[in-house]
Amino acid sequence: MSFPWANEYTPKVPLMKWIDERLPLPRLVYNAVGAGYPVPRNLNYFWNFGVLSGLALMIQIVTGIIMAMHYGANDLVAFGTVEHVMRDVNAGWLMRYAHANGASFFFIVVYLHIFRGLYFGSYKAPREMVWLLGLVIFLLMMATAFMGYVLPWGQMSYWGAKVITGLFGAIPIVGEPIQTWLLGGFAPGNASLNRFFSLHYLLPFVIAGVIILHIWALHIPGSTNPTGVEVKGPQDTVPFHPYYTAKDGFGAGIFFILFALAVYFAPNMMGHPDNYIEANPLSTPAHIVPEWYFWPFYAILRAFTFDFFFIPAKLLGVLAMFASILLLFFLPWLDTSPVRSGNYRPMFKKFFWILVIDVLILGYCGGAPAEEPYVMISQVASAYYFAHFLIILPLVAAFERPDPLPGSITEAVLGKDYDGAETAAVAAE
């Protein structure tokens, strides 16, 4: 599960020795996130976002469990109990604002984590399984976030539930029965609210389980690094603890500062005022949009305003939206370049940044009203999104001439002269 030069676990306290002989849990932790896990010595701060994602999940679970103690999942009282949390429950406002902003921060760090992987080719062999499991986590996160947003039973909650379950209604023949089955009625109601609460409580623990698989799969080949060159010997690695526990700890400090700024000074910045109006089935909010982290996908959904042969526009939009995520499952086999890191891929690097801008444009259009010029811009940007993965990446891989790679991680860090003598230097430390 690790490199042969990984430190061996030797319990120092008799108690730990006693536990380790009966249940090797201390050994497991030591080998996973302790001094027993050797990591490339040259990771930059973009490698913080995996740990930060786990941290964000923990914040969500803790604040969520606390709020569940004060919330009532019934359409008659749900909206009121959320206000009860805000006004009456001791520190309830803190729990709710931390939970709502925590969701946004969770997506911020996960998106950075995903784009890190895209730029540095983290999805390439032998780490395809890490990438695929990461996408499963992403899908679970989106489902969890969507259901959580329904729980306050405000206007955006209600209409979000209606629109998102309406997506399934676009499927021919079985669509409407599926939509009715998901909602437990013909429109969102008490049955929908109850099941969403039940599943919203369940899914974070499913996510935690898939995260364990994600990390397990990562620890088979070990982390990649900014050069994309594989670890060649002990001189290329440092133990996870204390080196990266310290680096991740610093990142966590920055994360908490920004998180606190949002929670204490701009808690509603990323929310919608309409959700402070109780759900009303007879009136759609003038401008109905999902939370910001769904905007790029929402823009793709709305880009299809025309029928294509026999496929109606509605179904096309839904298919395109799901395809935009499912496409990423095929990424390890679409980008056939043997070079991992974008640092050594001059053409890929340019197209990567164009993709980043494209997704930001999609995000902006997804949050804008459904009118020109945003519809047209969404159409062009959606087309480019698919072209990037299906056409540009395979072509770049075929025609690009990568820059010369460093001989090893150590050479990239210290220069050519150090490479041979490095083992001795590490030993001397």
Binding site: G166, G169, A170, F186, A191, L282, R302, D307, K314
Partner: protein
């Protein structure tokens, strides 16, 4: 099991030669357990379908006497919005002027209303795209480019017969089952 197989081999029965009685029992047992498992899951899935109280058919009676030509009201049927609208002569003429066969969901105004009561357009107020409530029934609301209804969520335009004309919605606004109980009242459902 292994011992038995070994015994069988020792008897001279070569492995992989034909289907053994034990193979059949094995497959039959596992299949039966599988079917049992699926049957056991069915109620677990079906419990999510609408419960009896939700399914209980409700009917809604609507009084039309207060609705002037060009006016519309919003009410509810099965906890979803229902639009009841009295069309003006001009709106009827506009709807009839269109060749229905050119539409995305081809229907004439006559097919969407009751004989002799063409001016009464009764539809669900649920956009057939993703289920928002279209605008146009209330006073002063945006009626869209075709003078009927306009869905603000994703920009679907419906004409004066509530037929889809532009935007992502695939179907005309649904006409629920209803009948006239008198000249000025309908029973929906």
């Amino acid at each position: 099991m292994a011992t038995l197989e070994n015994t069988a081999s020792a008897d001279g029965t070569a492995e992989g030669e034909g289907v053994r009685r034990r193979d059949f029992i094995n497959i039959a047992a596992v299949s039966f357990a599988g079917v049992g498992g699926v049957v056991a899951v069915l109620p677990l899935i079906n419990q999510m379908n609408p419960s009896a109280d939700v399914l209980a058919l409700s009917t809604t009676e609507v009084d039309l006497s207060g609705i002037q030509p060009g006016q519309a009201i919003k009410t509810t049927f099965r906890s979803q919005p229902l639009f009841v609208r009295q069309l003006t002569e001009k709106e009827i003429a506009e709807a009839d002027a269109v060749d229905a066969s050119t539409l995305r969901d081809p229907q004439t105004l006559e097919e969407r209303t009751v004989d002799g009561k063409t001016q009464w357009l009764i539809t669900m107020g649920v956009c057939t795209h993703l289920g928002c409530v279209p605008l146009g029934a209330g006073e002063g609301e945006n009626k869209g480019e075709y003078g009927g209804y306009f869905c603000p969520c994703h920009g679907s335009h419906y004409d004066t017969a509530a037929r889809i004309r532009k935007g992502p919605a695939p179907k005309n606004l649904e006409v629920p089952p209803y009948s006239f109980t008198s000249d000025t009242a309908i029973l929906v459902g």
